[in-house]
Amino acid sequence: MRFTKAETVEEALHAMAAGARPIAGGSDLMVAARQGKSPLPESIVAIDRIPALSRMDADERGMRIGAAVSHAQLEVDPRIVADYTALADAAALVGSPATRHVGTIGGNIMNSSPAMDTGAPLVVLDGRVELRSLDRTRQIDISEMWTGPGQSVAAVDELCTAILLPERAPRSGSGYVRLEYRRAMEIAVVGAAASVTLAPDGDLLAAISVALTAVAPTIVSVEIPKEAIGRPVDDDLLDRIAVAASERAQPISDVRASARYRKHIVGVMARRAAASAFGRARGETIGVPLNRTAGIGAP
């Protein structure tokens, strides 16, 4: 086995072109290898010490989050908490304090699990993924990233360098909530993220998006009927969102939950995510993570 430590993005790209696989926090890669799910790659390049990948930069166009930024950084970053709150809701739920310190947003996305917590928030926040290889740099919509469990459109030699989040419209809010049976070391049985933008005057809906975690082979978006736009965010609308989410879900039955239960719960989660996104869009203070304030068995 070969292990190299990259100090720059270029070094990492060269190593990957030569066949190395990146390791950031290793909290997916090592665990999968130990469990015998997928053996450790023959050649590994560590990317967690590359300064450019561990930075967060903000300007008027939005935010650029380095791929090696940890969940622990995300959950307390003031700009993420204020403007991209769903992402903070999600990062704050990952594993335990230890997992959040080693686990990165890039690793979460590139691992491509349908149960990843940052995926649905990034989808509703219109995130884009920057992928680099030796010969090109490209950006793709995060909603086009995943093709199946553990599968993405990224080529083996492509390094995720950053996640780009566009500037939020005024009067926007977002939220992410998941079903959990315990408060740490949990995996999303079902989760939902929502983003809501309100019209400049009054509380009528200007834009909404909802995405679901762990109810399909990938993170999926929920089609919200056009008629919702221009309407108040009331119980009726939230009920419709719940129904749309349940209909969109194609869950399985396994040891964690039955498909029937998941289908119901995803509606509950979507409703709560949307209601909280709405509240935050109106300027209400709803604490992060949502799971503790408006979620499961709160507080």
Binding site: S96, L179, Y181, R182, R183, V255, R256, V268, I296, G297
Partner: protein, 752 residues
């Protein structure tokens, strides 16, 4: 109280464990050591038709592959129904078929893969009711040949027990109301944080085995029995133990590893994976089906109870032969009921064997009984706490098996727990408080210590007791020092080594402080006598006038006339040594009076019974069925509390384990009898982030015929009532009991 704020509890093993300098079996390496790995059946029931070891044996680096042919043909277990290796039929997925020793773990794993075993599948017995059918396939075709006259058994029923008192028919006829309930509990696990390790090394005809066991002397007995060795040829040493919770009670794999080490003439080490820790040991908490009917008068008085319990024994009877009677006692409960008939059967299935996990049978049976009790209270329109106050036993009461209880603190426990949680105060609509009471016996037994003080005044306590994390052994130096007017820090412990110390039954049955504490007290008193005699001679006083205090022996009334224990130690080093031993005295089990037990296993009338009441406040998320426990208030009568810090820790840990068993733990099986969640991601233990506020009060009663200074046991009692209290809180919120344990979010939601 031996330990108080002025003399705080110094936990001698604390720094080792906290800093990581402590060593566990997996940390030990010996020169030339080989790695062991087991070949498991991987199927629930089948007849071996082919077992081919050639390919495995021919892998370079494989030193030996052993099967039943390589060890004595011995059956063992509480009912001798098991052998070290399967020879003909495999009866559960974790049954060991072969054992490999190889140069390293990876090679051993490859060899295990290369072992070819073929089976003729046999019908799986995994339904407790169906197993009773006379046409059911048998888990043990030759059950009748097993040598087990101490149990009442028949076909798939490994052990049957009943408790009968009064006339249950007449009692029911006399009742104004009769309420019937049925409950079902899934199996669960002990889940110690350390997956077990075993390392064996032979020197001549003697073997030393380092093992993660809670019961070194029982492990030794198992090795001696299965390999045909005398006890003085086998030495079991436990370095630090990473928890047990009952899962590491009994004799498990020490003999397999010893046999491998003998075959390959090298030290051999086995370290389990987490999955193996879930699947292979014969110490799972048994699943249960519980039917209970009670007759009550309109004023709430209990007049009769009928019960039927089926306990899942799994494929072999590790130590569960007495479980039916213990389970029946928990379905009877600490209540006054004149007419009782409870019948309880331990049923063989093609699942992992069950065994003593912390308070075996109690959490499940208590959960069912206490949910049923709330139904009874509801039926007569009584407050459930008032109902319990009316029917629960008190000092001087006669219980279900006719035992008359001495001074006990159950009623005080109820008062304390409900007071602490402010029972009856207003709560938000999605919150409720549930209350449950429980009991648990103390198990007196033989136990010994040696105590010595060497020439420099430094002491050693050599004890047979095993520390499984409770801190019980760590309390022993305090008990000894207290008698000798010395400091706990003056003593080092030599423990967890059968080659050095006298017998103790091990960290099982909440008995360490109860029994080893008495032995330590006896030993310390003997040593005190030696010190006093020596001091009397030195100070020219009479022995009776010597007091031991603050490291000095002095003459009562003339403190100037004194000699330090260090000086006495130096004198003794040249003469009669300061060398004492202590042994726990026999405590007779109380007799059964006016009741009969078919299949009596001696666990119906209890020595020094412990009592508890848990009150729990929960919040229900109605849309999801997720229940969160917000607050638990507990009150325990475990006699005198010697070590308040340790005791509180036991209660808090027991409560957290109880919450897990109530809500999130529970083993799931596929149709082929295999565990579906044999890992920490899918077997959901509670984490520290889930811990509620826990308040603990002790009702301290200096109890006769109990442990040192009137203490009873305490390690298991806190694990008894929590699930029942949670059940009753949930029932208040959803309008009916959840009849399946664990009461998972989905199960709660299904009933809404």
């Amino acid at each position: 109280m031996v330990i108080s704020e002025s003399r705080p509890f110094l936990r001698a093993d604390g720094p080792d464990k906290v800093t990581g300098s402590g060593r566990y079996v997996a940390d030990i390496s010996l020169t030339g050591m080989a790695a062991a790995k087991f070949k498991y059946a991987g199927m629930a029931h089948g007849r071996i038709t082919k077992l081919d070891l050639e390919a495995a044996r021919s892998i370079p680096g494989v030193y030996a592959v052993l099967t039943h042919k390589d060890v004595p043909d011995v059956r063992f277990g509480a009912i001798p129904d098991r052998k070290l290796f399967a020879s003909d039929v495999v009866r559960f997925e974790g049954e060991v078929v072969a054992a490999v020793a190889a140069i390293d773990a990876a090679t051993a794993a490859r060899a295990v893969e290369a072992i070819v075993v073929e089976y003729e599948p046999l019908p799986i017995v995994d339904d407790l009711e169906a197993a009773l059918d006379e046409n059911s396939p048998l888990v043990h075709e030759s059950w009748a040949d097993y040598d087990a006259d101490h149990v009442v058994r028949d076909r798939n029923v490994a052990s049957f027990s009943s408790i009968e008192r009064g006339d249950v028919e007449a009692g029911m006829a006399e009742a104004d109301l009769v309420v019937t309930s049925r409950f079902e509990a899934d199996a669960s696990h002990a889940v110690p944080i350390e997956p077990r390790g075993i390392l064996a090394q032979w020197e001549g005809d003697r073997v030393t085995i380092w093992s993660s066991t809670q019961v070194p002397f029982q492990a030794r007995a198992g090795v001696c029995e299965t390999l045909g060795l005398a006890t003085n040829k086998v030495r079991i040493i436990v370095p630090h133990l990473g928890g047990g919770f009952g899962g590491k009670c009994g004799f498990h794999f020490e003999a397999h590893v010893a046999a491998l080490a003998r075959a390959v003439r090298r030290p051999v080490k086995l370290v389990f994976t987490r999955e193996e820790e879930f699947v292979a040991p014969d110490r799972r908490r048994e699943g249960m089906t519980i039917d209970v009917t009670s007759g009550i008068r309109r004023d709430g008085t209990l007049v009769a109870r009928r019960g039927r319990m089926l306990l899942d024994n799994g494929a072999y009877t590790a130590d569960a032969d007495f479980f039916p009677q213990l389970a029946a006692m928990h379905l009877a409960g600490p209540y006054k009921i004149p007419n009782v008939l409870i019948e309880s059967s331990l049923v063989y299935t093609n699942r992992q064997p069950s065994g003593s996990v912390r308070a075996p049978t109690a959490p499940q049976a208590c959960w069912a009984l206490e949910a049923h009790t709330d139904e009874l209270a509801d039926a007569v329109g009584m407050d459930p706490v008032a109902f319990r106050r009316l029917n629960a036993i008190d000092s001087g009461s006669v219980g279900v098996v006719g035992q008359t209880y001495g001074e006990i603190g159950l009623q005080q426990c109820i008062n304390a727990a409900v007071e602490e949680i402010e029972y009856g105060s207003d709560l938000p609509p999605d919150e409720a408080v549930g209350v449950a009471i429980g009991w648990w016996p103390s198990f007196p037994g033989p136990s010994g210590v040696y105590i010595k003080i060497d020439d420099d005044g430094a002491g050693q306590i050599i004890t047979g007791a095993q520390e499984c994390g409770t801190g019980a052994v760590m309390t022993i130096p305090h008990i000894v020092a207290d008698e000798l007017g010395m400091q706990p820090g003056d003593f080092e412990l030599i423990y967890q080594d059968t080659g050095a110390a006298p017998y103790d039954v091990g960290a099982t049955g909440s008995q360490t402080l109860l029994n080893n504490g008495r032995a330590a007290l006896a030993g310390a008193r003997e040593l005190a006598r030696q010190l006093k005699e020596l001091a009397a001679e030195h100070l020219e006083a009479s022995t009776e006038d010597i007091v031991l205090q603050s490291g000095e022996a002095s003459v009562v009334g003339s403190p100037a006339s004194s000699v330090s224990i260090v000086e006495l130690a130096a004198i003794a080093a040249d003469n009669n040594l300061l060398l004492a031993h202590g042994s726990s005295e026999v405590i007779e089990t109380p007799p059964l009076v006016g009741s009969t037990c078919v299949g009596d296993q001696g666990v119906a009338a209890w020595s020094a019974p412990q009592f508890s009441c848990h009150a729990v406040r929960v919040r229900l998320d109605r849309d999801t069925g997720v229940v969160r426990v917000l607050e638990v208030s507990t009150a325990h009568d475990s006699g005198t509390i010697i070590n308040p810090l340790g005791a509180t820790g036991q209660v808090e840990g027991g409560v957290l384990m109880g919450i897990g068993q109530a809500l999130t733990e529970g083993t799931r099986y596929d149709e082929d009898g295999r565990q579906l969640n044999a890992g920490l991601l899918e077997y959901k233990l509670q984490t520290i982030a889930d811990a509620p506020t826990i308040a603990t009060r002790f009702i301290e009663i200096d109890t006769p015929d109990a442990g040192p200074h009137g203490a009873k046991g305490l390690a298991e009692a806190p694990n008894v009532a929590t699930a029942g209290a949670i059940a009753n809180a949930i029932a208040k919120l959803v309008g009916h009991p959840i009849r399946r344990l664990p009461m998972t979010a989905e199960r709660v939601w299904e009933t809404l």
